[in-house]
Amino acid sequence: MAELLSLKEAVARLVRDGDTVALEGFTHLIPVAAGHEIIRQRRTGLTLVRMTPDIVYDQLIGAGCASKLIFSWGGNPGVGSLHRFRDAVQHSWPVPLEIEEHSHAGMANRYVAGASGLPFAVLRGYTGTDLAAHTDTIKPITCPFTGERLAAVPALNPDVSIVHAQRADRSGNVQIWGITGVQKEAVLAAKRSLVTVEEIVDELEPRPGAIVLPSWAVTVVAEVPGGARPSYAAGYYERDNDAYQAWDAIGRDRESFTRWLDELTGVKA
């Protein structure tokens, strides 16, 4: 059964230096507040996993929390590049960042394998591309029935997966609706999981398009209203497109980023 904790306690309890950590949420319901709490608690050496690293990953990388990134598309959606990510890859600032790069289909299937207790997944993927040449996590596999060659990718089983959802009940059952992305798989693939939610309610009213993660499949639930801002939470608030635009200028140089970071972590200039 999931425990109900504050975000601070939850991150302190679940996320350790050197962990493999996945924060998922496909444009919708990105667990930004949890990412900020990881920065505040100054975790280091993390292997960060995420299909679509966007500004909260740019922040985690710029803050020096990560030593490796496993991903399939890194950008500021609708705006442009992630400058902290680029700076880390191109200039090792503030620390070197190793990367392991996949396609969305590959990443999604790696989570599926992880959630399914399988060591690998099979897909029609990567054929003819240069991706396989730069990672040892894409290998060929032959169908034992047809002889056809396909791609195999290893399961992702993060130490901790963190997602944001609309609601949980007091027993820790979690309800998510709208675009649910790969969140169920990320939670089920992980050794430990944290779900931040907009609110904790007495009862989860059934809703069209909603999925429920039963309490016994989740480690910790933390109530964090607005925890997905500046991304959005269907039924609660809209995406703050201006914040995504504004991040471009902040992330663009080390100085303005450091000012932002000091403000987040409460360091006086």
Binding site: S72, S81, R86, R124, D130, G181, K184, G209
Partner: protein, 251 residues
């Protein structure tokens, strides 16, 4: 006749390539603009599929991201991300994959990963693959839309993120790729199609007012020009109105 920009011409030309009743896996940005323009115009029964899991999205404005709330709210079905790739894209159910590119080479291979010869020390780190490699592999055909310049249209991409026609005709079949690959490239200057014999991208249509020399100069390889070079019809009043309404609604 209404004035229009070369970007507007590009979007209109790209939209026209989508037939009514088709299904289209839509990349964000220029492809999404074109696909939505088509659906609001001549192809009301165009099924738009976004990698966020939205099947049959019917947005009233141009989505800013692949996962805008309106895509889910207006979709026939919203499925998980693994499902959209495994059950919907991978089996080859989708007619057209509509992609953008940072670099495109003369055989329609796409690079959205790194600029520069060294992957480990790139000149520019780009966002990466996203859904594109499997979209390019599995859709029945692929349309690419991007602005034309010697920076974007290169002899050979620095990194093959998404496979087009490889090193020429027959490569896709040899690799067992099910779809036909890139059959159309739409730019702000004209249209290119793979030569039926060699699969090399060849200029087949110019947008109104554009000269062949201009396109050749904006291409990083020795661009071939089709014998029966056509001209794209200029955007109609109706097309421009819909496009501008969509853009306005999204501002």
């Amino acid at each position: 006749m209404t004035e229009y920009t070369s970007d507007e011409m590009m979007s209109v030309a790209a939209a026209r390539a989508l037939g009514d009743g088709m299904s289209c896996f839509v990349g964000i940005g220029l492809p999404s603009t074109a696909a939505n323009l088509a659906r609001r115009g001549h192809a009301p029964n165009l099924t738009l599929i976004y990698e966020s899991g939205c099947l049959g999205a019917k947005p009233s404005r141009l989505p800013l991201s692949i996962g805008d709330g309106e895509l889910a709210d207006t979709a026939d079905a919203v499925v998980s991300v693994p499902e959209v790739f495994n059950y919907w894209l991978q089996p080859g159910r989708i007619d057209v994959g509509f992609l953008g590119a940072a670099q495109l080479d003369k055989f329609g291979n796409i690079n959205t990963t790194v600029i520069g010869p060294d992957y480990a020390h790139p000149k520019v780190r780009l966002p990466g693959a996203g859904g594109a490699p499997e979209i390019a592999a599995s859709c029945r055909e692929v349309f690419v839309v991007l602005r034309q310049s010697t920076r974007t249209f290169v002899e050979k991409v620095d990194f093959v993120t998404s496979f087009g026609h490889g090193t020429g005709k027959g490569d896709r079949a040899r690799l067992g790729l099910p779809g036909a690959g890139p059959t159309l490239v739409v730019t702000d200057l004209g249209l290119m199609r793979p030569d039926p014999e060699t699969a090399e991208l060849t200029l087949t249509e110019l947008h109104p007012g554009v000269e062949v020399d201009q396109v050749v100069a904006a291409t990083g390889w020795k661009l071939k020009v089709a014998g029966d070079l056509g001209t794209t019809p200029a955007p109609t009043e109706a097309e421009l109105r819909i496009l501008r309404d969509l853009k306005r609604a999204s501002a």
